[in-house]
Each structure stands twice: as structure tokens, then as C-alpha cells.
């Protein structure tokens, strides 16, 4: 009897896989390509995208209370144009007082961070805020960004090259994009 069931299973599996396993192959290819094409087109790595997401949450949290878990940041294609789609589930809008407080707190926080950075540059997120603080003077920012990452090169040899490259990339790209809203 076991011979028959084995044989049956073999025959059945010959027809079956096209439903279970193989139906995924094309979809896997499609979604892998979709992601890789967006990265190719925009020159943004997943790490930088994640950082951008974090900074956007920080910025928007000053004005509205939002559901951070459900915030979606995607590149979408419409025709031959690539659009940055940001979907923000808003819990409630903050009132004027709260906004003012948040801005003050933010400015204070940055002031402290800036002072810290001059002593010991350690974290990538802090570095990026240095550039955005001084974003108004782009040339100066770029110089500072380079020198900071240079120091990092020497200090933390454990960090791999890729990470440092990403940091440098991020600094040059973020300098003009984020300067205006952050430097309020």
C-alpha cells in the first residue's frame, strides 16, 4: 500500500508544484526587481531610506501626533516619473502651544548635540544633524561633513567602509534637502 501512496504522491507532485512553489517565482522576481530598480534610479540605499524615514518622523512629530509604526515611505512609479510617496496616519493635530514647545525643545536638543559633536563625534545620526543645522551655508557644511567623517575613519576602525560611504553620501544629499525645515 505504501508503494501506491508513494507513487501517487510522486505523480501528484509533478502537477502540483506549479500552484504552490512556482507561482511565487515570478512574483519574487518582480518584487526584487521593483526594489532594485528604485534604488538604481534614486541612488538611495535601504539604510539611507531608513534614516530619511526617521528624520521625517522627527520633523513631522513636532506638528502632529502620528502613528510611527504605520508611516510608510515608498518610491512609486507613475509613467516615467518616480514619486516619493509618504503615507502618514495622523492621530491628532497638535495645538499651537504644543508645537511651539516642540520646536523649542528641538532647538535646545540640537544645540546640545552640536556641542557634543565638537568634542567627540561618534554617532551617525548626530553628524547628520550637524550638517542640517548649518545647512544654510552649503559649502561650509560640506567641508564640515567631510572633516567629521574623516575623524570617524580614524577613530572607529571597526566600522566598515560601506557604512562610512553611506554617511558621507547622506551628508551631501541631506544638506540642501533638509536644511530649510530643520533650521526653523
Amino acid at each position: 500500500m505504501s508503494f501506491f501512496t508513494d507513487f501517487y504522491n510522486k505523480v501528484f507532485s509533478f502537477f502540483k508544484p506549479q500552484e504552490n512553489v512556482e507561482s511565487n517565482v515570478k512574483d519574487v522576481a518582480r518584487s526584487r526587481l521593483k526594489l532594485v530598480l528604485m534604488q538604481d534610479r534614486t541612488n538611495l540605499t535601504p539604510k539611507i531610506l531608513e534614516q530619511m524615514r526617521g528624520e521625517l518622523i522627527d520633523l513631522l512629530s513636532k506638528y502632529v501626533e502620528l502613528d510611527k509604526e504605520l508611516l510608510e515611505l515608498n518610491f512609486e512609479q507613475e509613467g516615467d516619473q518616480v514619486a516619493l510617496m509618504l503615507s502618514i496616519p495622523v492621530i491628532r493635530a497638535k495645538d499651537e502651544k504644543e508645537i511651539e514647545e516642540a520646536i523649542k525643545k528641538d532647538a535646545l536638543l540640537k544645540g546640545i548635540k552640536l556641542a557634543d559633536d565638537e568634542d567627540e563625534p561618534d554617532e551617525t545620526s548626530e553628524e547628520s544633524e550637524v550638517t542640517s543645522e548649518n545647512g544654510e551655508e552649503i559649502t561650509q557644511t560640506a567641508e564640515e561633513g567631510e572633516s567629521v567623517s574623516g575623524e570617524e575613519n580614524q577613530e572607529s576602525a571597526a566600522d566598515n567602509n560601506e557604512e562610512q560611504a553611506a554617511v558621507e553620501n547622506e551628508q551631501t544629499e541631506s544638506s540642501d534637502n533638509e536644511s530649510s525645515p530643520e533650521a526653523v
Partner: protein
């Protein structure tokens, strides 16, 4: 007369640029157009082989550029069709032997007494590509429904879109295998078009006849029975401005699908009885 200069490019190698050039060129010439094919893959020439003209080449594009012969002397006439001629690449030199300006100049001269100038581009996005694109105002991007070919095609489309001289670029999807699409093992034509966001000019099915036609040096468009040949002839008609429907490649998929469905149903019934 002012001919149209169309570059045939892909980024990735081996997706069928040269085969496409030979077939579209032959089909356009068969339809009564005067056509010149230019092989810009200097150092790795192959278009002459596909056309069966390898023994007739006396002068190459490098000889023209270095003024060892006149442009007309370097044009090799096709065996079957006097409307079609080939400007071959040199085999002993490299891509730096011809500059963008020189290629542009050759295209301008050929425009005067030809309807179509098809430029067969080398693989890659370096100098060879830049040269080939220099004289063209239209482009056909050849790709296959595979990951790497699609990714490279996307790069090429980006580069073409950035060039002002390129007025239009279209996608030619080569080596499509309907049976693999039917089993969801290969991305469909719609998937590729959606990913690349580029208009289609042709869908060419995988055809073993291509191998024998290459071996014979006789483009498959000359084979009236071949499906790939039919698809290439349709591409030529679309280039000429005709509206031609895309071939229905899913027909035999349906037959295979029906047979499979039948077996699957029977097996399910047997299983239910057990």
C-alpha cells in the same frame, strides 16, 4: 531623402541586439526601404556573420574614419536584397578607433540616400555605447524577461531619456517563453513593461530556429514559417508607422494549460475517491 537613424542597444550582452539588428534591417529592406546596418562593436564584430557577409568585407568603419576608403566603398551589399547594406566593424581595433563626432558624421552622410540607418550598439554603457548613440534620434532597447537584463535595460533607458537628441525609445522584449510565463516561472510581458515604464515595439518568442538561422547566416525573417520571424517582420512594420497587433503567444500556453488542468482534475478526483 532624410533617413531615420535608430540605435539598437541593451546594456547587457547576449540578449539579442545583433540578431535584432540583422532581422529588423532585413525586414525593413524586404519591405522596400533602403537600409544600412552599422556594426559599432569594434573588436567584437558579429553582424557580418548573422547576415552571411563575412567573406565579402573589404573595408570597415575604421577604414572610412581613417580615410583609407570612401564611405560608399565600405558598404557591403546583402546577397539577397540589394536594398540592404552593411558597414562592418573592424575586428583588430578597439572602441576608441572611432569617435562620437565621426560616427555622427557617417550617419549624417548615410541619411541622405537611405530610409533607415540601424546602429548595432555594443554591450555596456561606456564609450562604445556613447559612440553608437551619438548619431541616432531613435532607439530600440532590447531586453529579455530576466532580472539582470531588465535591470541593465533600466539603466540604458535612463541614459537615453537624458539625451536630448533621442526623440523616442521603445522596448523590444526578446526570448519570451510563453510556457514559462504560464507556470509563473518567468515574468510576463506586462510585468516587464510595468517595471520599465517604456512603450513596446515588439515581443519576440524564444525560437530554436534562431540558432540555425545564425549558423546559416540567413536572418530568420526570411523564414516565412517562423514565429520569431513573423514577430520581427511585425516590428519592422511598426517602425514604418503601421499599427500591428502583438502576436498572441499565449495560444499554445492555453493548450498546455488545458492538458495540465485535465490531469490535475482527474488526479483530484482519484484522490477524493481514495
Amino acid at each position: 531623402m532624410s533617413g531615420r537613424v535608430i540605435v539598437i542597444t541593451s546594456g547587457k550582452g547576449g540578449v539579442g541586439k545583433t540578431t535584432t539588428s540583422a532581422n529588423i534591417g532585413t525586414a525593413l529592406a524586404k519591405a522596400g526601404n533602403k537600409v544600412v546596418l552599422i556594426d559599432t562593436d569594434i573588436g567584437l564584430r558579429n553582424l557580418d556573420l548573422l547576415l552571411g557577409l563575412e567573406n565579402r568585407i573589404v573595408y570597415t568603419i575604421v577604414d572610412v574614419v581613417e580615410e583609407r576608403c570612401k564611405l560608399k566603398q565600405a558598404l557591403v551589399k546583402d546577397k539577397k536584397n540589394p536594398n540592404l547594406s552593411l558597414l562592418a566593424a573592424a575586428q583588430t581595433r578597439d572602441k576608441s578607433a572611432v569617435s562620437q563626432e565621426q560616427l555622427k558624421d557617417i550617419c549624417e552622410k548615410l541619411k541622405k540616400d537611405n530610409d533607415f540607418i540601424l546602429v548595432d550598439c555594443p554591450a555596456g554603457i561606456e564609450q562604445g555605447f556613447q559612440n553608437a548613440v551619438a548619431g541616432a534620434s531613435e532607439a530600440i532597447v532590447v531586453t529579455t524577461p530576466e532580472m539582470s537584463a531588465i535591470r541593465d535595460a533600466d539603466r540604458i533607458i535612463g541614459l537615453l531619456a537624458a539625451r536630448e537628441e533621442i526623440e523616442s525609445y521603445k522596448l523590444l522584449l526578446n526570448r519570451v517563453r510563453p510556457n514559462l510565463i504560464a507556470t509563473n516561472d518567468m515574468m510576463s510581458v506586462e510585468d516587464v513593461v510595468e517595471l520599465l515604464a517604456c512603450d513596446l515595439i515588439g515581443i519576440i518568442p524564444e525560437d530554436t530556429g534562431i540558432i540555425s538561422s545564425t549558423n546559416k547566416g540567413d536572418p530568420i525573417v526570411n523564414d516565412e514559417k517562423s514565429l520569431a520571424g513573423q514577430a520581427y517582420r511585425n516590428v519592422a512594420r511598426r517602425i514604418m508607422g503601421e499599427e500591428v497587433e502583438f502576436l498572441n503567444l499565449e495560444e499554445d500556453k492555453n493548450i498546455i494549460g488545458k492538458i495540465k488542468n485535465f490531469f490535475e482534475k482527474t488526479i483530484k478526483e482519484i484522490k477524493a475517491k481514495i
